[in-house]
C-alpha cells in the first residue's frame, strides 16, 4: 500500500529574514518568487518515488522506503493581489496519496508607518558649535556636522542618516551616511557625527539631510524630517600683517631702509 504524509512546510522570499511556516491560511506578497520546502514521509509499506505538486508545479522525486523522509522543493511565483485556494498533492510514483488544502492571500504587504524626526542640526567650527544655519565661519577652517535624530514610534526601530554638504559652487564638500548600531528605542534620540571637512571657499554652504528608518538594506526616507537648506556662510578672514622693520646691511654697517 502506498501512503504518505506532510510533516512540515516552509516558505521564503527575498527580503524575509528567515523561513516562514506554511499554514492552512497564509499571507504572501503578490507577484513574488517563492522558495517552498515540503518535508514528507512514506507512511506506506512499500518503497516509492515521492513528489509534491503545488500551484501547478511538480517537484523532483525522492525514493523513499517505508518510514523514509525527504524534503522536496518547489519555486512558485505568487499571483497578483487576491485570495486563492491551493492544494498540495503528495504523489507516490504516479498516485496522489494525500492532499492538503492551503489558502493564500496575496494582498499588499503592509508597510509600517515609520515616524521619526531630526531634532537638532549643529555645525562645529572655529572651536565653537552652533545651530544651523550659522554665520561667521572662516575660510580654510574645519567643520564637523552633528545631526540628532529621534524615533517617534512606539516600537524600537533601526535608524539611519544621510546627508551631503555642498560648497558655494554646488560641489560636494562632504557626503555621509550611517546607521545606528542596533535599534533606537521609542522616543529616544541618537546623535550622528560626520567627518571633518574644510571650508575652502567663501560663500554659502548648503546641506541635504534625510532621516532613514526601516532597514539598511531597504531604507525608508522620512520625508517629514527632510532638510534642504543653508548650512552656513563662510567668510574670508581679515588678514592683518605688517612689515615691522627693514634694514640694509652693507659690510659691517646696518641701516634702516631707505638708507641715505
Amino acid at each position: 500500500m502506498k501512503a504518505g504524509e506532510l510533516l512540515i512546510a516552509y516558505v521564503w522570499w527575498e527580503g524575509q529574514p528567515g523561513w516562514i511556516s506554511i499554514l492552512s491560511s497564509n499571507n504572501w506578497p503578490p507577484n513574488t518568487n517563492l522558495t517552498t520546502a515540503w518535508k514528507v514521509r512514506n507512511t506506506g509499506n512499500e518503497a516509492a518515488f515521492f513528489k509534491v505538486r503545488f500551484m501547478g508545479l511538480t517537484s523532483a522525486g525522492a525514493l523513499l522506503s517505508p518510514g523514509g523522509e525527504a524534503t522536496l522543493y518547489l519555486y512558485p511565483v505568487t499571483p497578483g493581489p487576491g485570495t486563492y485556494n491551493y492544494t498540495l498533492d503528495i504523489i507516490a510514483d504516479t498516485t496522489v496519496v494525500r492532499q492538503y488544502p492551503f489558502g493564500v492571500f496575496t494582498g499588499v504587504v503592509p508597510v509600517p508607518e515609520y515616524k521619526g524626526s531630526v531634532t537638532k542640526k549643529e555645525l562645529e567650527y572655529n572651536e565653537s558649535r552652533g545651530i544651523i544655519p550659522v554665520s561667521g565661519v572662516l575660510q580654510n577652517k574645519r567643520g564637523l556636522f552633528h545631526v540628532t535624530a529621534r524615533n517617534d514610534m512606539s516600537t524600537s526601530q533601526p535608524i539611519g542618516i544621510y546627508w551631503f554638504i555642498n560648497d558655494p559652487d554646488g560641489l560636494i564638500a562632504e557626503e555621509y551616511t550611517d546607521w545606528k548600531f542596533g535599534t533606537l528605542g521609542p522616543g529616544q534620540t541618537h546623535e550622528f557625527i560626520g567627518d571633518r571637512f574644510t571650508f575652502s571657499k567663501v560663500g554659502k554652504y548648503g546641506t541635504w539631510i534625510d532621516l532613514l528608518m526601516g532597514s539598511k538594506d531597504s531604507p525608508v526616507v522620512i520625508y517629514s524630517a527632510r532638510y534642504i537648506g543653508e548650512l552656513c556662510t563662510v567668510g574670508a578672514p581679515e588678514y592683518k600683517g605688517s612689515i615691522a622693520r627693514k634694514e640694509l646691511e652693507y659690510d659691517s654697517v646696518r641701516g634702516t631702509i631707505p638708507v641715505y
Binding site: S200, E238, K240, G241, S242, K246, E247, Y250, P258, V259
Partner: protein, 142 residues
Amino acid sequence: MIQLEERSPFTDTLEAMLEAGASVPLGKSGLVHVWGKNDMTTSQVMIIAWVVKDPTGLTVESYGDDAGTIGSLQDHEFIGGRFPINKTGNWTIAISLFMNRAAPVMVASYSGVLCAVTEEYKGSIFKKELEYDSVRGTIPVL
C-alpha cells in the same frame, strides 16, 4: 588691512640725499633684512617677496620665502642674498608681505628707495711749493 608705504625714488633727489649726509658707499655688498609681523589673533602663514633694482632699473635681487606659520603678534626675520652695490644713484626695493598660502593675500608692502649710493671721492695734497726766481721752497716758505 594692507599697509602700503610708497616713496618714489624720484622725489628724493641725489642732491637732497647728499645734503642729508650719509649714503651707502660704492663698492660695498648689500644684504636686505625684513621683519614681517602677524598682527592677527590667530597663527598665520607668512610669505615674503621682494625685488631690488639698481639705479638703471636692472633687477639685482629677486627674493621670496615662506616662513611657515607664525604665531599671533609674532614677527619673523627674512634675510635675502648678498648683491654688489656697484652703481651710484638710487637703488629701489619693492617688498610684499602675504598671508594665506592657498590664496595669498597681500597684507603689507613697501615700494621705494632702498639706498642712495654715492662715490666716495678720495684725494690729498701731498706737496705744495713756491718757486721764486730759481728757488723753490715748500709752502709755507718762511
